[in-house]
């Protein structure tokens, strides 16, 4: 306990994070009602209220001039305050300390994408915050859910006793996008046939399937938004890489600390300690069963026979509640989502479905895995010699980037410069207001350290490139981009 609270205190100076509801606590003396989540939870209430008071004040103030888009960020000398209106009148605000020494140099949009991800994952598992609040106006239920969920989420950023949020070193990454596996024609046909087989396993239930190879998406029948959410869940909790590193030691004692904090938080509410809180992001809770299906007791265990309850989640657009059923064969992970309403016999139906999958699809699964494994170039498969790049397709929510191991070879100066250029493009995009697709932008900078730092944006696609060992002329750099565009982007960024 002593250890964990010390850890939380150290990190609290670097990070504050709150969620509040402007519709609550309107009367004097009831201000605490507004707070739905606050990290660090042990910060005294007046200090918590001061963060929320400032945020609320500036939301109101900025609406005087900008009624359609209220406060998005406060930049102070020592801190950045990042705002995100997750749902109408429900705001998430993250306050991060800035420091050159500790490399705490941020890109606001990268931090905001963390907030967005937290919210969309929360909705996927628990539904919208407003609905939860309406269900239980006291707020205790919502607070407990948010607390456990976000603490589990933040654990991913914990290194020792310090939060390492995405900083300038992550400039060539795009959170909230899907990374795809490139497959050959032959393999694609096999995958297609597997998708068909999975479909028929699910029968008339109108379920969905998602197939991943390693941490890359192979196929999906979900909408892009739901795919993105499920993809980020799968790659952080389900894929073979995650499962094999599952019980690592860095977070274990902290998890314990958080669990204690979580129960404290439940007490903060209206004394609802009795109800069970599902913690879908809890670490080390997923494992691969003997039959190849992934199991977890996160959603509880059936009384008597100790069979874990099948996980459920919500689809964003249709708001349908779905059973989640995951199967893994070597590097291949297959996720099936089946509407709860169409499974009249519940768990029994799920085990029948699993049986069907083993009988009718496992041969195809083995074949596809073999094909993909054969064609797979390893973790540096998408490295392009001489280039450090990030390619984002905003319309399809897809990104591809240089492998992290290669990006780390860049100098700090180059990374800071590309971070700035990305900020610049973020601003230009936010100015576009609606006609973003039309925004055609090209920025080529030769930085102080002679690296070329390049951004191209056209028709919803963005390309960022750092060339450290390039010739000094602008024409050379442009040519390098043309080559890259022709070869890897189907000429999307080529000028002619």
């Amino acid at each position: 306990m002593g250890l964990s609270s010390a850890a939380i205190t150290t990190s609290s100076e670097a990070l504050k994070f709150c969620i509040f509801d402007l519709r609550r606590g309107q009367h004097e003396g009831e201000e605490l009602e507004k707070i739905l989540f606050f990290f660090p939870a042990d910060l005294p209430f007046p200090a918590q209220l001061s963060v929320i008071g400032l945020s609320e004040g500036l939301i109101t103030f900025t609406r005087i001039f900008s009624p359609e888009a209220a406060c998005e960020v406060i930049e102070a000398e020592l801190h950045s305050h990042v705002f995100f209106e997750a749902e109408p009148d429900i705001w998430m605000v993250m306050v991060v300390a800035k420091s050159k020494e500790t490399e705490a140099i941020w890109r606001i949009e990268a931090l905001r994408s963390v907030l967005k991800e937290i919210h969309s994952l929360f909705i996927m598992f628990h539904g919208s915050i407003r609905v939860l609040l309406d269900k239980e106006p006291g707020g205790g239920l919502t607070r407990s859910h948010l607390f456990t969920f976000i603490m589990d989420y933040l654990n991913d950023f914990l290194m020792g006793n310090k939060f390492v949020l995405p900083n300038f070193r992550d400039s060539l990454k795009q959170r909230g996008t899907v990374q795809m596996l490139t497959v050959g024609r032959e393999a694609a046909i096999e995958v297609q046939s597997l998708v068909g087989a999975l479909d028929s396993c699910m029968g008339h239930t109108s379920g969905y399937s998602v197939i991943l190879f390693q941490d890359l998406l192979v196929s999906t029948t979900l909408t892009p938004d739901d795919t993105t959410n499920l993809f980020s869940y799968a790659t952080s909790r389900l894929t073979p890489r995650v499962l094999s590193s599952g019980g690592s030691s860095t977070w274990s004692y902290l998890r314990k600390g958080n669990a204690e904090l979580a129960s404290r938080s439940a007490n903060i509410g209206s004394g609802l300690d009795g109800f069970r809180i599902v913690r879908p992001l809890q670490h080390g809770k997923w494992s691969k069963g003997k039959d190849g299906f992934l199991v977890t007791d996160i959603w509880g265990v059936e009384v008597g026979n100790l069979v874990p309850t099948t996980p459920t989640l919500w689809l964003q657009q249709t708001e349908h509640k779905m059973y989640l059923c995951a199967y893994q064969h070597k590097s291949l992970t297959i996720i099936l989502l089946i509407p709860v309403t169409s499974m009249l016999n519940g768990e029994e139906g799920i085990s029948m479905l699993k049986q069907q999958l083993l009988e009718n699809a496992s041969a195809k699964i083995v074949k596809v895995e073999e094909k993909l494994a054969k064609g797979w170039g390893g973790e540096n498969a998408y490295h392009v010699k001489g280039y450090r790049y990030l390619l984002v397709d905003g319309d399809r929510n897809i990104s591809r980037a240089s492998p992290p191991g290669k990006v780390t070879t860049l100098t700090k100066e180059s990374l800071l410069a590309i971070n700035k250029v990305r900020e610049d493009v973020d601003l230009e995009k936010s100015r576009g207001n609606g006609n973003n697709d039309e925004k055609d932008l090209e920025i080529c900078i030769r930085a102080k350290n002679n690296a070329w730092v390049i951004a191209r944006s056209t028709r919803g696609k963005e390309l960022y490139i750092v060339l450290e060992k390039a010739n000094e002329t602008l024409l050379y750099a442009s040519e390098a981009i043309e080559k890259f565009s022709d070869r890897y982007c189907n000429g999307a960024f080529s000028l002619d």
């Binding site: 008071g53 400032l54 004040g57 900025t62 960020v73 925004k439 090209e442 900078i445």
Partner: protein, 593 residues
């Protein structure tokens, strides 16, 4: 003067640092309880705006307002510029006559101009515009002398809003009837506020300061709220709006803008605004706040609205406001030498600086060996002199040792008359007039043959004096539209004349903003300065090149070819070097900042 201000500013730095070094956590937690009530009050004053806000939200009326009403007056600006241009045309024919009349005849000139231009809204201050040549006694015993031509009556180039301050001046304060409840006020594109640390309004670009007391208190609340947390607020972003804060001791400056200018530029503009205020009142204003934190500064700045609105207007047309460099009127080398010699004679009599300017352009500048005049100070001084009379704040100790008074000083001494006579006799004035009418560097004159040394701007045979007061080119080779060249060791820049693709003031303003962004990006504090930048969007191709000696900013047609554009930039640099003794003031005074 120089030493005074530098010591004053360093002491303010110390103040700022010590304020910034407050142990944040302790202060935060201990003061929370105490300040919570204050916060309530502060934030409730923010909340006061809510009902108004909600009322305006669903309203669709303002969407139907004419654009000119809600646009920050830029269309109006252009309208008045056009009016002014037409005056420039009609009066250019008698321009030479006016040069002689600096002292005596201004009364004859002004009524005519006033008759055309004054509107019911023009302040009483405008009526006082009088002398066209006024040695200014500024700030204490050091005398800065400024010879100012009567800009509005000299042949105008008709395209560039060369003397927009004049229009601003006549207009004085705009929309004084508005306040934060007015929809039109809320929709203005760029607000500037100055307030005291107790929340008292000192200046607002739009609206009546007194009516904005509540709004001002809100701004103060935000700043002090963050300060109480041991931090200092710099910027708030909301949609297309930015709120930029600058704290200068007891004086708070805030800009609220949706003009897409980068934070660094807006902050730089607040610095200049503060500098302008200090130019008028000196830093001793801080002492007034030390004595009485509720001190009301507005009376001290009475009648200076025009100075500030002119400065703010210059933020959208004068590159000096972000380049931190000054520009010269193009003149034959010998002419400038003559002018310098004349000024030198003046300087011999113990003057710290002497500047001869034509509108915002320097003809010559001389100063004492050790003294240095920062380009920003020149900008502020020129703005002050152009927009206002030579009023100086002074204190008469026997009258009231705590009070500022304004002194109007105009020496009608032998020197003044002599300088004028000498300038006229030496042909400098004629040359100045010629330069004004012929314009500076026109991109269509860019020598395309790299071997050709053009040598001089003034001996090109095909240059013709425009007959109608407008210099409109067709654009340069390879789609070159415009360039700015800044010499680093001279602290000077030269800007080409505008060609037809950007002949409209709106287009020019947009280009300046693009340059501003480019400048801010190249000189980023964290990672800059960069060496080269190529930037293409739907409006321009922009090329920037920063070396140890110079910076070049060039704008091309958005479809311009990269390779050709680079070649053209090299030509431009060569051309500037060829004619540098005509466009720059070379080796006049050693500057040592």
């Amino acid at each position: 003067m120089a030493s005074d201000s530098s010591s004053a500013s360093s002491s303010s730095d110390e103040e700022e640092e010590s304020a910034g070094q407050k142990p944040n956590v302790d202060v935060n937690i201990n003061s929370i309880d105490n300040s919570l009530d204050a916060i309530e009050n502060q934030l409730s004053s923010i909340a006061l705006n809510t009902p108004i806000d909600e009322r305006t939200l669903p309203s669709t009326d303002y969407h139907q307002e004419p654009v000119s009403e809600i646009d920050d007056g830029s269309s109006r600006e252009s309208a008045s510029e056009m009016r002014r241009n037409s005056i420039g045309e009609s009066s250019s024919s008698r321009g030479s006559g006016l040069w002689r009349n600096n002292l005596g005849v201004e009364v004859e000139v002004e009524p005519e101009a006033d008759g055309e231009l004054s509107s019911p809204s023009s302040s009483g201050y405008a009526g006082e515009r009088g002398s066209s040549s006024s040695p200014t006694s500024a700030c204490g015993t050091d005398v800065v002398r400024e010879l100012r031509d009567n800009g509005s009556s000299i042949g105008d180039d008709g395209v560039v809003p060369l003397d927009p301050s004049q229009t601003q001046w006549i207009r004085g304060k705009q929309h004084a009837d508005e306040d934060d409840g007015s929809i039109s006020w809320r929709k203005r594109k760029k607000h500037f506020f100055v307030l005291s640390h107790s929340g008292k309004p000192i200046y607002s670009r739009y609206g009546d300061e007194h009516k904005l007391a509540g709004f001002s208190a809100t701004l103060q609340a935000i700043i002090s709220f963050v300060e109480n947390g041991g931090d200092r607020v710099k910027l708030v972003r909301a949609g297309n709006h930015q709120v930029v804060f600058l704290v200068k001791g007891p004086i708070y400056l805030v800009c609220i803008s949706c003009t897409e200018e980068p934070y660094e530029s807006l902050r730089g503009q607040l610095e200049l605004l503060y500098g302008q205020m200090i130019l008028i009142l000196t830093r001793s204003i801080d002492k007034c706040f030390e004595k009485n934190s509720k001190f009301d500064m507005t009376p001290l700045l009475g009648g200076t609205d025009a100075v500030f609105s002119s400065l703010i207007h210059s933020f959208s047309w004068n590159p000096a406001t972000f380049l931190h460099a000054y520009t010269c009127l193009p003149l034959a080398y010998t002419t400038r030498q003559t002018a310098s010699a004349i000024l030198q004679d003046v300087a011999d009599t113990g003057v710290l600086f002497a500047i001869l300017m034509c509108k915002n352009k320097v003809i010559s500048l001389v100063g004492l060996q050790k003294a240095s005049l920062h380009p920003d100070d020149m900008l502020l001084l020129a703005n002050f002199v152009i927009t206002s009379e030579s009023f100086s704040p002074i204190c008469l100790p026997r009258y009231n040792s705590m009070a500022f008074l304004y002194a109007y000083v105009h020496y009608l001494d032998v020197d003044t008359i002599q300088i004028e006579a000498v300038l006229a006799k030496s042909n400098v004035l004629n040359e100045v007039e010629r330069s004004l009418s012929e314009g500076g560097m026109r991109i269509e004159d860019l020598p395309v043959d790299p071997s050709a040394n053009s040598g001089s701007l003034f001996h090109l045979t095909h240059r013709k004096t425009p007959t109608n007061g407008t210099v409109t080119g067709v654009g340069g080779p390879a789609g070159l539209w415009h360039f700015i060249y800044r010499s680093i060791y001279l602290d000077q820049y030269v800007s080409s004349e505008f060609a037809s693709p950007i002949s409209h003031p709106h287009q020019q303003k947009r280009l300046y903003r693009a340059y501003q962004r480019l400048y801010a990006s190249m000189h980023d504090k964290g990672v800059g300065p960069h060496k080269t930048q190529f930037r293409r969007d739907e409006n321009y191709v922009l090329l920037c090149w920063v070396t140890q000696d110079f910076e070049l900013y060039a704008a091309f047609d958005p479809l311009a070819d990269k390779g050709v554009a680079i070649r053209i930039c090299n030509r431009v640099c060569q051309w500037v070097k060829d004619v540098e003794n005509e466009i720059f003031l070379l080796g006049a005074t050693p500057f040592s900042w």
